[in-house]
Symmetry: C2
Subunit: 265 residues, 2 copies
Amino acid sequence: MEEINEYAKAKPSDVRRFIREGKIRGQTSGMCDGFAQANLVALPKDIAFDFLLFATRNPRPCPILEVSEPGETKVHFIADEADITTDIPKYRVYEKGVCTGEYENVTGLWRPDLVFFLIGCSFSFEGDLLAADVPVRQIEEGKNVPMYNTNIPCKSAGIFHGNMVVSMRPIPYELVPKAVLITGAMPKVHGAPVHIGAPEAIGIKDINKPDYGDMVTIKPGEVPVFWPCGVTPQNVIMASKPDFVITHSPGHMFISDVKNVNLKY
Amino acid sequence: MEEINEYAKAKPSDVRRFIREGKIRGQTSGMCDGFAQANLVALPKDIAFDFLLFATRNPRPCPILEVSEPGETKVHFIADEADITTDIPKYRVYEKGVCTGEYENVTGLWRPDLVFFLIGCSFSFEGDLLAADVPVRQIEEGKNVPMYNTNIPCKSAGIFHGNMVVSMRPIPYELVPKAVLITGAMPKVHGAPVHIGAPEAIGIKDINKPDYGDMVTIKPGEVPVFWPCGVTPQNVIMASKPDFVITHSPGHMFISDVKNVNLKY
């Protein structure tokens, strides 16, 4: 059964305030039903062109929803009255590709040369799948979506290089075309699957051991379907080792004021 | 009647070679039927982040097909064996927002700090309109598409700001929904119209006097339909006055190896 989050019907601006005030510290999956959530990457201006170029060249795993001017901490386009240094429940700092800490806000760590990127998240298309009676197993089972490193190379840009991370949802064979059409209509949040059916063909050795998230049940008559995943930037940051990057902690997303349905147009 | 270009059935790589060798110097409209053509903007690295951010924030008028690394002159993704300094029939140089010259190649003007951007062009969706029996008047009349300055502001980024330029095609009322669906399916080449029917609502004072291109006949029972236009970057460059920019000359496009049909996915 689908779990109903306590904040499923809350307004994004209220939930962001609860996060800012420390009342919410956990994962954001299931909060603010119908509104887009976003991945965060913040890095210094001197490598921001390279990263924006990386995202431009790899729009499937890295669909850009907003990019700030250098030093800016306010969100301008996808949310009103939001501060990127306080409105996410948990942050990570990566130094030279290594995660050196998790933080409840990054106000004291922010630098005037930082540019932040908000990147689309597959949570946005799961509502449409469920509405069309396509099962989303990790929601049914109350787990994180399983995610895998692959051998699919991203297109490099400047210092940034690395392979794509994918999320997996088991889909009944007869619903696969519907799942492709539904998600293909939302290219701003990863779009259509990148692979259907043969995990080993994209470098996944053991489907039962995801590299991130939790394994979910694949039932008889279902096939694993793989979508480009917003964890790809963190994988690329670990591979490319820039001096200083701030990201969200996986599952602890920025909740925007943009309705998922508006990401179709 | 639709005019058939001498190079309509030629391979893009052959036409690029003819251009490089000086055998073709004119406009590229109608050449290499089925292959995408692109607008060029090349500018120094120190403002390249601002321009890429401008394009990211304004994907309707500025859909990015390729961005180079600084100093690069070879096209890597949308064409094989192409040199951006020689493979366009006519170039323009803008200095502080003013066009200071037109050139047949820019080999001698190229600088190691230049980054080039190739931006989608509405030529790409006209084939689908014609195939579906939606008239494309400027092709029927052997003219340039009419283009207009508007009062629709683009989202600013760094030094770049300005209003959107639109192209206009008169469409019979009953075919407008079809024209919206066909072009909406191609967001990488401007996508759906930005306005239908009331030129004055977007700041166009006299529909009979386009700011660029030629006026075409609007027949009884037809409505003017406006699409975001790839001339927008040149308008923005004139408004924003960067020191040095190289562009193509309007109508003299870069012809890529990418099939238009592949820009749908």
